[in-house]
Amino acid sequence: MEEGVQVVYNVFHEAPLGVPIAIYFYMTGLSAGSFLISTMAYGLGMVKYKPVGKIGVVLAILLLVLAPLNLIIDLGQPLRFWHLLFYLQPTSPITYGSFLLTIYPINCLIYGSFMFAGKAKLTRLFGLIGIPLALSVHGYTGFIMALGKARALWNTALMPTYFLVSAMVSGIALMILVVIIQGLLFSPDHKINKELAFDFGRMLGFTILLDLFLVFCDMVLLLTLDPEAREAAQLLLSGAFSTYFLGVEMFLGAVVPVVILLSPLTKRRLVPVAIAAFLAMVGVMAMRYVLVIGGQALPLA
């Protein structure tokens, strides 16, 4: 039936959500990931992660202060941003997000200040409170996509989980780089905590595998669901976004790091692990880009 159909005239409006939104998703993901790793040490008592506990919370706060700036700059009416907190729409994920983006960094600040003051019990308490907050602050961005019902690439129940798993990927990868940079530049004897880096490397490898599994589930459904979904899948697999999706997100950002991080030859060598971590971070940024920009690339009318 589609054979021989030609669109002679139609209107396509400019895609509403741009690169700042993709960067925003990336930054909240990194923030949530760093925070969760920080709480593994100070909230859940896994002592081996203590060396990155403090820097983790500092990064979480920095990223979460910068992240919403992307959103406010992107508004057509930046000075009206306060409308978000005063005129509420209980069915809109952005309404919930506005409050999460306010509460989460405040909790991070409290948690961090107790950590630096050395008050273990209070640190633990606010660390534990922060875990659901961190999950929500990034999980809700998944709902922004999932409830954008018009777009085949977004409208899936997998989206919040997919966002959280990719947030963990970028967060763990960031921690590997942090451990290395911390060791090289800031430790008294310039020694890198290799065991910790390799431990994170293994964790990163398995998290990327989980991420790949989710992408696989998503693809299978997209290819079989309906014409719109199939178009979206083809856009990623062979269309305009295939370089970003297959090349950067899948191959460089997932397959290569998994091979490096899980193969016995390279998983205990610092340089390959550092490269894998860097690639994983690039891959997650590509994922945000493909999802936000690619999701809007198909015509709706």
Partner: protein, 199 residues
Amino acid sequence: MAKEKRYAMLIDLRRCIGCQACAVACKAENGVPLGTWRSWVKVIEKGEYPHVSRSFLPILCNNCENPICVRNCPTQATYARKDGIVMIDPHRCIACKYCIASCPYDVRYYNAFKRIVQKCQWCNHRVDAGLLPACVQTCPTGAMTFGDMHDPESEISRLLANSPVQVLKPEKDTSPQVYYIAADMAAMRAVGTPGEDEE
């Protein structure tokens, strides 16, 4: 007296000649900026010579009964009036553009001059003054009908009761209130990236 109004629109494509007069009238009436449209006529061709045809599909906001934009707008700037017209409060809108991203019909746009989101509101300023929307008023073949569905004697009520009608993307569960008679499936379907040939 009468029950509350519930507006709807019906477009009879057997009468549409694809002249785009509705699109022009809309632009003029509402001051729609260059590069954006509140309503337009999509035109497709199908078949191969000598068996070819052209189909038209006027597209505008469906003023849905169950609008995703209203659900997703974080500031309630977009809201539905009791008579069914989906409105945008120009002072409330922060232009986060999430409504544009959520709308399955691509009928919303960002007005870069007013820095808010806008869309077809069925010319609510005209309707409230007892006039017809500009597109309906202008349509030279009388293909467009606008009126109150709650009034059983209105033209739209009788047409809706007596004709086989379609709406765009019913699977999105938006309950669109722009109905079509004899819309072509190939025109209603939004498959195919602009500028790229079908495989």
